[in-house]
């Protein structure tokens, strides 16, 4: 029963939809990280669609054109744009058709999509999609490629003779023409019946001289005399025109090959297991690790300077490649080895050692560091420890280049590692690190502040101070973080400045930090604040009170006069601010630990002014409670 046109159209549309969805899923999978659930969900849905289609069809075979995909000679998909170019994806890699077979499973489809993902994400698209698909050997999926066309320049079937000799026997002793006489020599030498002697064991005896045919029998050995150990009567050989007596030699005895019949050439169970183990070991082949080990060996094999420079250049290239692919571990090993080799050669081959230095130092250049940044941004999976070890290869000479990276790392854990490194390495080179305080990018300045804060000495603080008034709040906030634990005079002075920051929250945090300090410099800062006209403008009454209390606590008897001056003025109009100031002063007195405070408060307790008298008594009570534990 033939298919109705409408059924066929429906099928065509369904296949077209599937192909469009395939492309979408491929793009999602290529974009999202592997642990994201969305790609897997989409894959499963797509697999359901495919299996439904396969239930209806024996196979779905699609032929590929530059911008179209066809099923049963009809277009089912066309590339609408560069972003929707499924046909082009197949076409440009030389795939002429592909097919989904009935045996394809959901797992197979998932693997297929993963191959596309890896191909699309491969750096520089250097991989070949057709080759990748072939290697993946995905069940139920077949491709046909244009090998016959793309490799047709190699179709030498008609030119095979060009590879073969055409010269005559005279011109080249190895060439022979059909020669009846020589052919018949074959039979004149006599046909010896099979001389294989099975013996009683059913096995063929091996020759005694199998033990050691001698080094020279191996063509790859270095001996000049490759005839050593070879019996000329054993094997007839062709040596060309110079030796025409070969035909008089006896033919090779059959028992030369008898060992082949023995069981020893069959693998036992144990040997098969060893083969499996060999394969398993090989499966752990790490290209980077292998090449690093190889390069180490190669550098040591060189006997001439020119060759050594060449190997060094290759080492440089490979190291750059390792960085680019994010393999910092191997790159670190290679650079570390160059250091070892440089030291080892310093005494005996100074020129070579210097050449290594030249290459080695190049890795710390600004350009190379930029490549590092690009690689780190591409490979977020590179761990902090790996980066730390890599940076550890570089000394102060590269500090400038590394510092310049402050604004270039996208991933937080990389930034933090970099800052840690610069904090440790920059101790003796603060000026280099501090350069970035003048960067136009606020986040660079912030990171620089962070690093200088970790260094924390006076010199670094002096640099940080320049950022106290930075226009970006996040930078100023970083300043606070950087100095928070630093109890030095400079840090305290910076806190004082931050107390008057334009941002209310930052002001509060800075004040809180300052109020927690018990140093002379903190007292001075508090005194400055109290004298500063901005205090009443920017700080709340509560904050002012806190300042006063802290001031009193730190100032001892020296502040009593100041506090008394806040209490004594008359407030006939009941000015609220004055009232608050008086109250704050009494509260501050209650916190003052000097004995003179009691005397003052006692005196004020007997003031004729009722409000003063009352507050003084309260303050005195509190003072005594705090000092003596009783009223």
């Amino acid at each position: 029963m033939t298919e109705s046109p409408s059924t066929h159209t429906a099928q065509r549309l369904a296949i077209g939809h599937f192909l469009r969805d395939l492309l979408k899923v491929i793009k999602v999978v290529a974009t999202y990280p592997p642990n994201n659930p969305l790609p897997n969900t989409l894959k499963q849905r797509l697999a359901t669609d495919l299996l439904t289609l396969l239930d209806e069809h024996d196979e779905i075979r699609i032929t590929v054109e530059a911008d179209k995909l066809n099923w049963e000679h009809e277009v089912v998909y066309f590339d609408r744009s560069r972003d929707e170019a499924l046909a082009a994806l197949f076409f440009h890699t030389g795939i002429t058709s592909f097919a989904f077979m009935p045996t394809m499973t959901a797992s197979d489809l998932s693997r297929l999509i993963d191959v596309f993902r890896d191909y699309l994400n491969s750096a520089g698209r250097s991989s070949d999609l057709a080759a990748e698909l072939w290697e993946a050997n995905i069940g139920g999926f077949e491709i046909e490629t244009v090998e016959d066309i793309s490799l047709s320049i190699y179709d030498d079937e008609f030119d095979i003779e060009a590879y073969l000799r055409r010269s005559t026997d005279d011109a080249d002793p190895d060439v022979v023409d059909s020669d009846v006489q020589r052919y018949l020599d074959l039979f004149r030498e006599g046909i010896v019946q099979n001389e294989i002697d099975l013996g009683d064991s059913g096995q063929i005896e091996t020759q005694d001289d199998d033990e050691d045919p001698g080094q020279d029998s191996d063509p790859s050995c270095g001996s000049a005399d490759s005839n050593a150990g070879l019996s000329l009567t054993d094997v007839p050989t062709v040596t060309g025109a110079h030796d025409r007596s070969v035909s008089s030699q006896k033919p090779s005895p059959v028992h030369d090959t008898t060992l082949i019949f023995n069981d020893q050439i069959s693998l036992s169970e144990e040997e098969r297991r060893q083969v499996v183990a060999l394969l398993a070991q090989d499966a752990g082949f790490d290209p980077a690790e292998s090449t690093v080990a190889l390069l180490k060996e190669m550098l040591n094999q060189e006997i001439e300077y020119g060759g050594f420079c060449e190997s060094l250049k290759i080492t440089e290239k490979i190291t750059s490649g390792l960085i680019e692919t994010g393999d910092l571990l191997q790159a670190t090993r290679l650079i570390g080895y160059l250091d070892e080799l440089r030291s080892a050669l310093a005494a005996t081959r100074q020129l070579w050692s210097e050449k290594i230095s030249e290459v080695r130092d190049g890795f710390g250049s600004a350009n190379r560091m930029r490549h590092l940044a690009d690689a780190l941004n591409r490979h977020s999976q590179i761990g902090a420890e790996e980066l730390k070890r890599y940076l550890g290869n570089f000394g102060w000479q590269s500090l400038s280049a590394i510092t310049d990276l402050l604004g270039d790392f996208n991933h937080r854990h990389h930034r933090e590692t970099l800052c840690d490194f610069l904090a440790a390495a920059g101790k003796n080179n603060i000026d280099i690190v501090a350069r970035t305080l003048y960067d136009k990018r606020w986040f660079v300045v912030r990171n620089s502040v962070m690093i200088l804060g970790r260094i924390g000495d006076d010199k670094s603080l002096a640099h940080i101070r320049r950022a106290v008034n930075h226009e970006e709040l996040r930078v100023r906030r970083e300043v606070l973080v950087a100095i928070r634990s630093n109890l030095s005079k400079t840090a305290t002075a910076m806190l004082r400045e931050l107390v008057f920051d334009s941002d209310e929250r930052l002001r509060g945090d800075a004040l809180k930090t300052l109020l927690g300090r018990r140093s002379d410099s903190a007292f001075e800062a508090l005194a400055d604040i109290l004298d500063d006209p901005r205090t009443t403008q920017l700080l709340s009454l509560g904050q002012q009170r806190q300042i006063l209390i802290a001031y009193s606590a730190l100032g001892g008897k020296d502040v009593l006069g100041y506090l008394k001056a806040m209490i004594i003025p008359v407030n006939p109009l009941g000015n609220h601010t004055l009232k608050e100031r008086r109250m704050s002063a009494f509260l501050a007195l209650a916190e003052n630990s000097s004995p003179e405070t009691e005397e003052l408060l006692t005196g004020l307790s007997s003031s004729w002014r009722r409000d003063i008298r009352r507050q003084a008594r309260l303050a005195l009570t509190a003072w005594r409670q705090r000092r003596f534990g009783y009223e």
Binding site: E135, S150, Y163, F187, G222, D256, I260, F285, K296, M298
Partner: protein, 486 residues
């Protein structure tokens, strides 16, 4: 009368005869279940799971309710008419089973659509429980005949051979042509590699990989036709042929080992590049017709290092470049590290690929007489010498596999028969190495107009025995004339 032996693929489109991963999984699942049944009873949970897995695999492959048969002919497995690979890892333990089958005259089993899970279990338990010895064969054969389980049919050797389509002349011709195309493309790529690296030009990696994959595809179907082409020696410049031959040998060994596709691809790539270092040596050294002297050898010994440098310099670093560089560097080191270059930093034994390529390289060098030595020797003598160096120069396991793979009379060898005939070996029989499939090209009366295809292992040809391998050049013959003809 000679018989045209049915060789193991159908007359269908060559691209379709190879089974895929699903067929491989089915065969593996069957033997896993079989082996388990030998050590546990039918109620064992693991065995039950394996039976379920096998039924699932069967369902996946069963299209249009066709019966499915697993067959074995000449070491090849088939699922119906699709040839599948059963790798070395899966082979462990299966050989013993297959040997018992051989004794019983069995070559396969067919599962029809009526097969039930219980019948499957009963069958496997029964057949796995048979203790097969040469003495018990008759009795067991009787038991098998009387064992009637619905949905299961045991297939005899004769039945299987009859079911598999005969290897027609047309198929054979197409296959050999395909082999030639693939082989010479590979040689042209080898030439390209040499030319590009000597001129510092960029290498076309994609093309190289595709050609290697073409070789692998061919070997997976039948290695004989490619190995036959390695016997051609009369090239003007043997350099490219040598690289290609080494590639073919290495890949064939890799397939025997059961390497997966990516690693096979890398192996083939490495083999094509193994001697690329020679590009950096003086050309008059490479082409020197006389024997090498001490100084020549000193220069020649540089080529592994030069090869590794060339590869790492000209190819972007990836697993292919890494493998190829290591193989180029290590392929003369020897398994006991006595070769060259002598290692300085770490006494690291050559890796798997280098070991494979070392064997392939030496074998081709010895048998061609064109690489280092200026005389060629027979394959048998080459293997004898190499066997004498096993454990020192060559990995013993790999060499054994290589010898087994090449056979006593490798394809492409020219042999003299006891019936005063001259023949070209086409493919060897794994079941009887001494009796390969040949083309008779002449006798004591002269060369034949039309060579005759003969299976020496067939009983009808018992009188024809191989006396020795001959060097065709010595007798005015060119092997290439026959290897390259249909």
């Amino acid at each position: 009368m000679s018989k045209t032996t049915p060789i193991d693929y159908s007359h269908l489109d060559l691209m379709r005869v190879l089974g895929g991963p699903e067929e491989e999984r089915l065969v593996n699942a069957f033997f896993v279940m079989y082996k388990t049944a030998r050590i546990v009873d039918a109620t064992n949970a693991m065995f039950a799971r394996q039976a379920d897995a096998f039924m699932e695999r069967l369902q996946v492959l069963r299209i249009e309710r066709r019966d499915l048969a697993i067959k074995r002919v000449s070491r090849r497995f088939f699922v119906n008419d699709r040839m599948v690979r059963f790798n070395e890892a899966g082979n462990i333990g299966a050989d013993a089973i297959l040997e018992e089958w051989r004794l019983l005259g069995l070559a396969g089993v067919r599962f029809s659509s009526q097969l039930t899970r219980q019948n499957l279990i009963d069958f496997v338990v029964f057949i796995a429980g048979l203790k097969v010895t040469p003495d018990s064969v008759d009795e067991l054969s009787g038991r098998i005949r009387s064992c009637m389980l619905e949905g299961i049919e045991l297939l005899s050797v004769q039945q299987v051979e009859e079911e598999l389509p005969a290897f027609s002349d047309a198929v054979r011709t197409r296959f050999r042509r395909s082999a030639r195309e693939t082989f010479f493309r590979a040689m042209a790529v080898a030439e390209d590699i040499i030319a590009s690296t000597s001129r510092g030009r960029e290498l076309n990696m994609s093309r190289t990989r595709r050609v290697v994959q073409g070789l692998i595809e061919h070997i997976l179907k039948d290695e004989s036709s490619l190995i036959e082409l390695t016997a051609i020696r009369d090239y003007d410049d043997y350099t490219y042929a040598h690289s290609t031959n080494v590639c073919v040998y290495a890949l064939t060994l890799g397939v025997q080992l059961g390497l997966d596709r990516p690693r096979l691809s890398q192996l083939g790539f490495s083999a094509l590049f193994h001697d690329v270092g020679k590009v950096k040596l003086p050309e008059d050294l490479i082409r020197k017709p006389a024997r090498f002297d001490e100084n020549d050898w000193l220069q020649m010994k540089q080529h592994p290092l030069l090869g590794a440098k060339t590869i790492l310099r000209h190819i972007d670093h990836d697993v292919y470049a890494a493998r190829a560089a290591r193989s180029a560097f290590e392929h003369h080191i020897n398994i006991d590290l006595s070769g060259y270059p002598q290692l300085v930093v770490e006494q690291r034994r050559p890796n798997l690929f280098a070991r494979i390529i070392s064997i392939a390289d030496t074998f081709d060098a010895l048998t061609s007489g064109r690489v280092y030595m200026k005389e060629s020797i027979t394959p048998a003598e080459a293997m004898r010498r190499m066997h004498g160096q096993t454990g020192r120069k060559y990995d013993p396991l790999l060499l054994k596999l290589f010898v087994d793979m090449i056979g006593i009379y490798p394809p492409g060898s020219m042999v003299l028969l006891s019936t005063r005939e001259v023949a070209l070996v086409v493919s060897h029989s794994k079941d009887d190495m001494a009796r390969p499939f040949v083309r008779i090209i002449g006798n004591d009366k002269g060369l034949l107009e039309i060579p005759e295809w003969v299976d020496l292992s067939h009983p009808d040809n018992a009188r024809r025995q191989i006396v020795r391998i001959i060097d065709p050049r010595k007798y005015g013959l060119r092997a290439s004339d026959y290897i390259l003809s249909d």
